[in-house]
Symmetry: C2
């Protein structure tokens, strides 16, 4: 009897310390996969027309199918991420590329970043005003310079030297975003509290725009993960503010050993929380699943700090995760069977 | 006999899975402490005059004693970090503030960042040309704006609005650094290979300057950890290049739960490796000691990627660690008994 109890005790202990090591399933669920977001925020059905909803869903589908086709035909995750994000950059629906929000100075200043999970190489740009595709420029910084991050006029000069498409700053103008800026300016005049944040937070359009970053993470048939993020930042931003979108480890991270992540939300909190890299670190160091890691980082750590927003993430086995603590996040995913998921609200 | 073997087996298993949890000593070794660096690089005794060595050691001691006195008198780690770094910013010996290296355009563009381990709040500035103390500005961004990171002219405008000391860009000029730039320019003219990196790497002064960032981490009597980093970046940098110094999680990180870190080295690799936050993550998630975490991140992960440089780090119990994979790092530390350590070369 005692023998048995000893044996059971031994087994219990053995089990208790091996569970964490065996918890994460290493089964490949998708040979290739792609997941995207078009921003998170207080996106509520009651504030949305059916037409607008259709518009967003159609653009998300158009964008993700471009990347999906590239992956299906054996293309690279890098190419899939660039081309997918470019569809969203070219759409005025999202706060990236055309449709970017306006700074306090009435300009559009764009940020983007990209990371390659195979080499851990990365590229990023901040405060670009005349480069049509910030995500393409971020990748160019990675492939054609010794640097990871370029900013402002210097980044534009680099883009010109590399032959990227340059546009008039007016290319990024949209009436909707400019009106958002005007509404903030009006409020700042009439309010005692001139804090941008307070002003911005009375206006759901501005509030959402602030979170309207776009991003994409893809896994290709060679097992390479790539992640990218592109944004116009926050309406009425001033002082050359840089958010999390161009910050490797905060807005974007990719590592073939673990996962790829693209963030969207209140950038300052995403930088302080190291959101993108922290998800990878929890998978690598705590052997968490992608779902466990994204849940802890967004629902627990980021939320405790007071941050709002979300991420799309994808691991080396093709598991995918949408995670956000806002009312909604424009998002879509496609697995290797071509199953398409498109969602906007919390479900 | 069998009983005993079962019992031994149980104990062995029990021991084997508890060791990792009990490995890290939680004993407080210092009520307060401070550690600094003045840059890492190929600093070799044979290239150093006794006089120059004395000069560096004297400045490092002057700087660290300023912070030590603040901590000893019950001041905050934030104040200690700012004041200590300002001594180094004002010295032409280091590549921060006065003595910053020159960009390709012949200007000085300064970066700095700061993080508060209690609130996980942070501030950073990139590409500042006329603010006397970039570290002071980084802290101001944290305390007086809703943002974490400001850049370029906008950051200067913010500094002026907040009444920080503005200087003529010429304040940062030093003949030594300007000559370094001229040497690179000469080389670029005469070399077939015009890659900055290659050019820069023929010149040990430039090579070291590239790593000449300054940083400080402090633990105060209230158990609050603060970390800060300030730099002029790399000689001949162009395109508005931003290195790791102003990137929270790469150049600077602080968390009262784990540790504080300030990095110095080849910024691009420190961003890709998430050096500063990774040390904290390994302590939090793998229960590593400060020494184990800094060793793995610098000697193993960073080195494998091809990155060079180092960190100074300090944990919540007052343990301190210098870790670098270069020939030398200007560094100093002081514990709560006032024991001063000042070193330059690998030992």
């Amino acid at each position: 009897m005692k023998k048995i109890s000893f044996f059971l005790m031994a087994c219990t202990i053995l089990f208790s310390c091996t569970t964490t090591e065996t918890k994460k399933t290493e089964k490949k669920v998708n040979d290739f996969a792609i997941i995207i977001h078009g921003g998170a925020g207080t996106i509520l059905k009651k504030n949305m027309t059916e037409e607008k909803e259709k518009e967003y869903k159609a653009k998300l589908e158009e964008a993700i199918r471009v990347g999906y086709t590239i992956l299906q035909n054996g293309g690279t995750s890098q190419d899939a991420v660039i081309k997918t994000i470019q569809v969203m950059e070219e759409s005025p629906l999202f706060n990236a590329g055309k449709g970017a929000v306006f700074t306090n100075a009435g300009t559009n200043e764009l940020d983007a970043s990209f990371m390659d999970g195979k080499t851990l190489n990365a590229g990023a740009v901040a405060g670009v005003t005349d480069v049509k595709s910030p995500i393409e420029l971020a990748v160019k910084v990675m492939t054609d310079s010794e640097h990871v991050m370029l900013s402002g006029k210097g980044a534009s000069t680099f883009a010109k030297e590399k032959g990227l498409e340059i546009v008039e700053p007016s290319y990024f103008y949209t009436e909707r975003r400019f009106k958002s800026l005007e509404r903030i300016r009006e409020r700042e005049k009439t309010e005692l509290d001139h804090d941008d944040k307070t002003a911005a937070f009375y206006d759901s359009d501005i509030k959402n725009a602030k979170f309207g970053t776009v991003g994409c993470v893809a896994l290709d048939k060679n097992g390479n993960i790539a992640a990218g993020t592109s944004t116009g930042g926050m309406t009425n931003k001033r002082w050359g503010r840089i958010g999390d979108a161009p910050i490797i480890g905060s807005g974007t991270y990719a590592n073939n050993k673990t996962c790829g992540v693209s963030s969207t939300g209140w950038g300052e909190y995403f930088i302080r929380s190291q959101v993108a890299y922290d998800i990878s670190a929890q998978m690598e160091y705590q052997n968490k699943t992608l779902k466990e890691a994204t849940t802890d980082v967004i629902q627990n750590k980021l939320t405790k700090l007071g941050g709002t927003g979300g991420v799309v993430a994808l691991d080396k086995n093709g598991n995918m995760s949408f995670e956000f603590n806002t009312a909604g996040m424009y998002r879509a995913s496609m697995d290797d069977d071509g199953n398409l998921v498109i969602k906007i609200y919390k479900e």
